[in-house]
Symmetry: C2
Subunit: 310 residues, 2 copies
């Protein structure tokens, strides 16, 4: 039917490793895009970029238990494997999909209670405790651990991550350089819906009413960026623009009795190198402007880069 590139699907480490080996001898570079599945245009765009950098492209789909807290949505997280494989196939540039089993990645099991965990864990100190890490204290430890394992299994030359998870990009960049992985990191732009909402697998949780108001965070961040672009560099003045706009929309939601609330988790304005909160933005250094908003029970995140890259 289709003459598209065949995708090899590996559900175990040994077979993936032996597939990988041939490209070492052939001296062909391998790009790797780790995902949790439930793929959207943001992921697909990363995969396309990967294929422009390397002749071989591997994608993993693995909902990583270690990055969920006990109160989070590990069980509800959307799993849409056959659709994901179809989407990847349609791109006509993916060579392999890695679908490991939890017990292969965590042979000692992975209890959500951290005190009961056994085995090797990796953390990036100094960049994992603030911003997203404040709301999700073990999130980046889970991310760093699973990526260390995946990097050793896939042995990619390049890896691709989305700007949407800005702090994750910084943590992974530090992980790679500090643990001396021989890997080049690339960051792809945040994919957005027509109204600006950052694409996310968790957007599937939103009801139609919630979806209408889910752009609130992006609107707040955009208002702040607008001020910054006009020359304002002071934290308080900048963030207040966002707080006001978001609070006004949250009030509208409350007054309309829509059956859910908008609740801001945080807005953050940090140095892109140290992730320390900034009082004044220096033009040459720039800043990462980010935030998180609860839309009903769904927590969405977004960020804009002020004169910097990740």
């Amino acid at each position: 039917m289709s003459s598209r590139k065949e995708i090899l699907v590996f559900d175990n480490i040994l077979s993936l490793r032996s597939w990988r080996k041939q490209f070492i001898k052939q001296d062909k570079q391998v790009a790797f895009v780790p995902t949790m599945g439930s793929l959207h245009e943001g992921h697909l765009s990363l995969v396309k970029q990967a294929s422009q950098h390397c002749p071989i492209v591997a994608v993993s789909i693995f909902v990583n238990p270690a990055q969920f807290a006990p109160n989070e949505d590990l069980n509800e997280y959307p799993r849409t494997l056959s659709n994901d494989l179809e989407l990847l196939h349609s791109l006509d540039c993916v060579d392999a999909v890695f679908l490991p089993k939890v017990e292969d990645i965590y042979p000692f099991g992975i209890p959500l209670d951290v005190e009961k965990q056994k085995g090797a864990f990796v953390e990036v100190k100094g960049k994992s405790h603030q911003m997203e890490g404040k709301s999700r204290p073990l999130f980046f430890r889970g991310v760093s651990t699973v990526l260390t394992k995946f990097f050793n299994i896939v042995q990619p030359n390049c890896v691709f991550f989305g700007q949407k998870d800005a702090q994750q990009c910084i943590v992974v960049r530090t992980l790679i350089s500090d643990l001396h992985f021989p890997i080049e990191m690339h960051v792809g732009k945040t994919g957005r819906e027509h109204d600006g909402l950052a694409m996310s697998s968790r957007n599937k949780y939103l009801t139609p009413d919630q979806r209408n108001y889910a752009t609130t965070l992006f609107k707040g961040l955009s208002a702040i960026k607008n001020e910054f672009d006009q020359g304002e560099k002071n934290r308080e003045i900048l963030l207040n623009k966002g707080y006001e706009l978001i609070e006004n929309i949250a009030k509208e939601v409350r007054e309309n009795n829509l059956g859910f609330e908008l609740k801001l988790d945080y807005l953050s304005l940090v140095d892109p190198r140290t992730l320390e909160e900034l009082q004044e933005i220096e033009e040459e250094k720039g800043a990462i402007l980010s935030g998180s908003l609860y839309v009903g029970k769904t927590r969405i995140i977004d960020n804009l880069l002020l004169n910097c890259t990740l």
Copy 2:
């Protein structure tokens, strides 16, 4: 003068990496022996074993700050580089020595106060807190972190560790399997002096009187192993043999007013897979019998394997 194999000495990561690369293309296996220098016969025996397994042998010499506690001997630790290089040269089987600088391995610095540390750290949970980890709580975190970095830099096919550091062997084996490093691990037997004292760089700290009594730990462990070999499997009965023997010698040292004391830190009898303390030894599972003794200010460690391997 000598027609012995030339040793390439690398003091930076980039040049080591580019040396390493040729063997990937040539499909030649590389063995790696990480050391803290101050080499003795135990190290040399590991290096010889390494050369029997792989055509290429790399040795690192790096006193790793991350595995020393603030009260420990980081500054005093013996550094004997030119002698080390001579010894390695005399073996005629070493291809490369890696002498990284602290700032290359820890670009964020490595303050001994763990709260101030930044960057990526690795720990093996469940196997790092007992035995040596009880006396040295961050020791194995330091070991796991530096080895993860070294494994990514050297990319060895095989690594070699000494049985003398039994718990380290178990931790490293778990690190390798759990982080999925494509590395084969080998354990070499403990090198011993003519009187049984386990070889250690720290033996250099001992005065002649202390050296005479430093065999006390080995004697205690041997007495216990002797009971085990004769059929005794009960923890209390076995360990009491050791406690008694060591206490008798410690008493002798006190009575002779030698100006130092022998002080047992611990004796331990654990399951070789879980490192849990055992009440009864099961013949098929065996046990690791280990201990630590202060000889004056010098802390020595030793172990014997009861019907098991590492």
